[in-house]
Point group: C2
Chain length 710, copies 2
């Protein structure tokens, strides 16, 4: 464009924001990534995919579902090299990055490696694992796996799945069968057109008896011709809200036979003779599900940071309204209300990021303990405690972090005004892709209630003076229920506030539960009856936990300018969430109404403070323009030029109007028809004509009147 | 499908929910629609479009943007008959229904009739109006209009628009010009490929002086050939989050000449000699914008009701988890937490519906007053008061009602679990289409602040004992600031609670404003500084206002079973919102902590109570299966059969796999390659192989060990 640009340009405005940052952006970035190695690796991954044609992102908003799916498959080949050669830790960091660059591919890939391979890792015997590795599950040269758990009528309730796997001793096989429509396997990522095998969850039936849900590796398609195996019916389940690059499908089995050896038998075994041996500890089989949740906490932070990178940069360069005539308009980030819209969300994304680092460590410890566990192990109880804590903690975190991230994406979109609604802002896709995180791997509400149930248990333990897991140790602090603020609003004061209020709501949930128990309800019924209070307990506990993880991480850091800014951010997070949930802090008297006004003032002040470093702060999120994929969030600030260029590139003018002759011309050239009004009422045309005439008459009358007065 | 169905079927379950409703569904429906006539008309509109091929909805999830746009244009012709023959009132009801059936078409149609024609109605002189009617704006036979206000760099700040319209006295023309990229008209619905004329908002420049933003009807395309007029550059702005059926475009004007008579001159006139006459009351020119906001309150209620119809019916038929072995699983609507997720939202959608009916009346009164207003009118002050109240009230309502509806749609989606993520559930499109309502016609946050500014003004008036508009009369109730609950939680108690707390937060915002004023800030600066408190004031006032409208409507109704259920719903709405915003009620002491616990208990109880009539209640929303367009929300309850049928119909199996040979086969048949590990670390393949070997060794060792012990 040869247009002149108004001064200062958006590029100049953004550059100015980067001068005089009171901290070193790279050092801060390393702190937020957990290590320099993690940051350097991320930069390497970003550079690699930015140059790989399959990872082109600029055009994805205009691709059809079918085109997106084909592109997903193009990415597979490029990743096999890494999965087979990189250490698990490195590969996980790579996948974390892919998760925010391309959630569809991340999922399809995760189905093959996280879920299908994960099912083998946690459920196969050593011989079975070797067998499937030899078949090619790692290199995909022979087996491309998918994970067939969910059914049309059963999602959350895995134990209620209705697909059957009946042992036939005459042939030493299982017969996999879909008994009715509701038992159709549904949502199965990769089933529609790319998987050869599935890990099928089905009710084991041996000798006419049901033994619960087990996993059966079942071949879906011939690996040479890709035709469906006999008895396997597969359909495409089509368009979704987002992640259209995954080929989700449905599967119906009609008496499909699989060898007995294809049931994963690490935990439960079925012998040649049809004897069933059950595992001593059924809960150990669920450990593998927790990996997904853990990675979703990190993904929540990263996705929120991606959205915030766009919203904060755009708010810094967008100017709207000037305070005086002909003055330069104000950067919208300088409006207190806009700081209120974005700065707390920045703080939250950072808080969740630090929590994810801690949770990852907790998860790895637990996995290691589980992997090496044998029956009769002396560490069994300790390992079970670890599993229990990781289970409860990750349930609450998965729920509230994914909700927070989804909310952040939409608030960022709204903060960008109309342009946030353009596909090219990337918010619409971010939202649509992320939305499913609140549902899969456990519906958020249900997971919150699980976390709440564990908290009720923990309160019982606290009352009895039992040893408490670190995450709920605050329940045992003496007099925590009646603690009061010292008015300092320091990190310690904030921490105490969360401990006090979380303890109170956990206590309230427990009391309600006990009232229902005493009234004769079963445990399950009593739990249902107190579910609202249980939900509240989980919410306050989880937010307090995130604050605790963030504040612990900050306290461990050396005294330097980077730590200083993180301390400010941490206070903002803690106080803003207190403000959001102020009812509980007032109800339990930790803060007085006057102190709560001070909390509001402090949040105002902290928002203004964080705003001054907002651009270097989001720069430290270290997300490349390629990953962010939004002209509004360009690192160099050239938002309007980039946006205009992308809109033009994505929407070339067609040579011929696609429907002018068929639809518009007949409308424009239509003869005026006088329609009869079916209702006998005055039509809009009559009304408008009458209005025009009345006004003319009035104007003439007045004119006449004025003249007469002259 | 020949599958057997489990008993009771979903159809039987839903039918059972309709037996023994304690009220007459049709009578309740009439009450919620405002009149029997409104309901009957709606049913007629629904029947008409259900049979019209252009309004087919079952396939829209799989149409491309280009196909959606073409279909939008197909609908135009079918509507012209109605717009020219129906009364405005009937036509508005028709559009309200179209608004939830097909938001894209509603918008494109609204651009032509609501915005373009609206600009003419409010801005044209009588002669100008006649001229454009003769040209064909009503029947679209000659003029298809669009509304060119927003620019790339200016949305909210209309006064800051940068397109110029410079008067050239030599030719008696205006020269419309886009001075730089940021001034490009952007988002213009209909510009990309369907409009012939635009109402262009531009800075009027006469004699080198700027006179502010006025409207200029500018021809974009030749009506015979549809080629662009000289100097007009138009591009397509492409994919959006939703409403892809609208052809939004950008427009750049390069010294485009329009006759002087094409400036709309009802308010400001430019004479042949270049004399500019300005209107005595500039604020009167903004009245027309309020129509959009008013209709958005009704649309918020209707959109929320559509989403809730799906979520509530699905929750009634979906069963998950049984309380005992082999027992029938529980309907998820019977879980207290699921009632908590949906019943308050049902109450809110009804509350907003009644508010919309009241607001519509207020808006019509005001429009009538404005239409007949002449300078020097004795009713001028009263009319200005009405305009002011409608402006402030509609600003707050637009913001909080659209937010509430968007939130409802997403919560409904989440409440349906995984299936809510399927495009065919219709939630994804509902969300994507609705999302823009929070942004256009005034960003919600900015509108909230406008409402808050008006409240600060009203508090000032209350303190001075001045007459208050009905909507803020509560600010003048003696001792309202220190009112206390009588513990009854009756409608009157709830009303007093809202008045008390809203008055307190309005007072707080005012006090903050005054502190900043006294500290020497300008009025605008002081307003910015107190924006968080202003926002809170607007929020509490608006929710209280919605409650007041709902409760007033219910109090006016005759004593009968329909009114009884609405009273229950009204209490649920009021108490649930108190619980949501409990901090303020505790802070200002209207409720004690113990009373607040009682509020929570009451909300639990009311949720359970409304649940018993949930199905007949959503039936009374009177939305046809065609409009709802979601198999999960089928009236007859055949959710899984309908869902499966739609998935199959929308996704036929392709004859040939689209990319098996190109992408999958090479992957499957690849030779095993041993990659060198670049990092020298252990790759995942090594790790897994090692793990398998270790386990084997451990198992053998143990076996040996056990044998030795034998």
């Amino acid at each position: 464009m040869a247009f002149p640009r108004p001064k200062p340009t958006t590029v100049e405005t953004l550059a100015k924001e980067r001068t005089n940052a009171p901290f070193n952006v790279r050092k801060l970035s390393i702190a937020m990534h957990g290590s320099e190695r993690a940051l350097v690796l991320k930069e390497k991954f970003m550079a690699e995919i930015a140059r790989h044609p399959a990872f082109k992102l600029a055009d994805i908003h205009d691709l059809s579902k079918d085109e997106l799916r084909e592109r997903t498959m193009e990415k597979f080949a490029s990743m096999v090299y890494f999965v087979t050669t990189e250490s698990l830790e490195t590969f996980q960091l790579r996948m974390q990055l892919i998760g925010i660059a391309d959630p569809s591919f991340w999922t399809r890939f995760g189905v093959a490696y996280g879920l299908f391979l994960g099912a083998l890792r946690s459920g196969a015997t050593p011989n079975q694992l070797s067998y499937w590795i030899d078949k090619g599950v790692l290199g995909l040269n022979g087996v491309i796996g998918c994970f067939a758990m969910t059914e049309l009528a059963h999602g959350s309730n895995v134990a209620g799945l209705e697909t059957t796997a009946t042992f036939d001793p005459s042939s030493d096989e299982f017969v996999i069968h879909t008994p009715h429509l509701g038992a159709t396997k549904w949502w199965i990522g990769g089933a529609a057109s790319t998987a050869t095998h599935a890990a099928v969850f089905a009710q084991l039936i041996v000798g006419g008896k049901k033994w619960g849900v087990k996993t059966f590796v079942t071949q879906l398609r011939d690996t040479k011709t890709f035709t469906l195996m006999p008895g396997v019916t597969i359909g495409d389940i089509g368009k979704k809200m987002g992640r259209d690059g995954i080929d989700n499908g449905y599967i119906q089995f009609t008496y499909v036979r699989v060898p007995r050896a294809h049931m994963l038998m690490k935990h439960t075994q079925v012998s040649r003779e049809g004897e069933v041996t059950e595992p001593p500890l059924a809960q150990l089989t669920y450990g593998a599900l927790l990996g997904g949740r853990t990675s979703m906490v990190a993904d929540s932070s990263n996705s929120a940071k991606k959205a915030l990178t766009v919203a904060v940069r755009y708010a810094a360069v967008r100017r709207q309204f000037s305070s005086g005539k002909n003055q330069l308009e104000t950067q919208i980030l300088d409006y207190p209300i806009h700081q209120r819209r974005l700065m707390p969300l920045v703080a939250q994304s950072i808080a969740i990021g630090f929590t994810a680092l801690k949770l990852q460590t907790m998860y790895e410890d637990m996995t290691q303990a589980l992997d090496t566990l044998e029956p009769g192990d002396p560490n069994l109880n300790e390992t079970l405690d670890k599993l229990k804590e990781t289970h409860a903690t990750s349930a609450g975190l998965k729920a509230f972090c994914t909700w927070a991230a989804l909310d952040t994406i939409d608030k960022c979109r709204q903060s960008c005004g109309g342009h946030g609604y353009s596909a090219y802002s990337n918010f619409p896709l971010m939202y649509a892709d992320f939305a499913v995180q609140c549902t899969w791997e456990g519906d958020n509400t249900i997971l919150s209630l699980q976390a709440g149930r564990a908290l009720i248990g923990a309160w019982g333990a606290a009352v009895k003076g039992k040893r408490l897991a670190p995450g709920v140790a605050y329940l045992g602090i003496p007099n925590i229920l009646t603690a009061k603020s010292d008015s300092s609003l320091s990190l310690a004061d904030i921490q105490k506030a969360w401990s006090c209020v979380a303890a109170n709501v956990v206590k309230k949930a427990t009391e309600e539960y006990l009232v229902h128990l005493k009234a004769g309800k079963t445990k399950d019924e009593a739990m249902e009856r107190c579910s609202q209070s249980r939900f509240i307990a989980a919410k306050l506990h989880t937010v307090g936990y995130i604050f605790a993880m963030f504040s612990a991480a900050v306290e461990e850091m050396p005294n330097n300018p980077e730590t200083d800014v993180l301390k400010t951010v941490c206070r903002l997070y803690g106080l803003w969430q207190i403000e959001e949930l102020q009812g509980y802090f007032l109800k339990y008297g930790y803060f007085s109404p006057a102190q709560m006004d001070k909390v509001q003032d402090s949040v105002d002040t902290l928002c203004a403070e964080v705003r001054t470093v907002a651009i270097p702060l989001v720069d430290a999120f270290a997300l490349s323009d390629h990953i962010v994929n939004s002209p509004l969030g360009r690192f160099d600030g050239s938002v309007y030029e980039s946006y205009f260029a992308q809109v033009q590139a994505s929407n070339p003018t067609p040579k011929e109007h696609p429907y002018f002759n068929r639809l518009i011309k007949p409308l424009l050239e239509r003869e005026n028809t006088t329609y009869e009004d079916a209702e006998g009422a005055m039509g809009l045309d009559d009304e408008l004509t009458e209005m025009a005439e009345e006004r003319k008459a009035a104007a003439e009358h007045k004119e006449g009147h004025v003249r007469r007065e002259d």
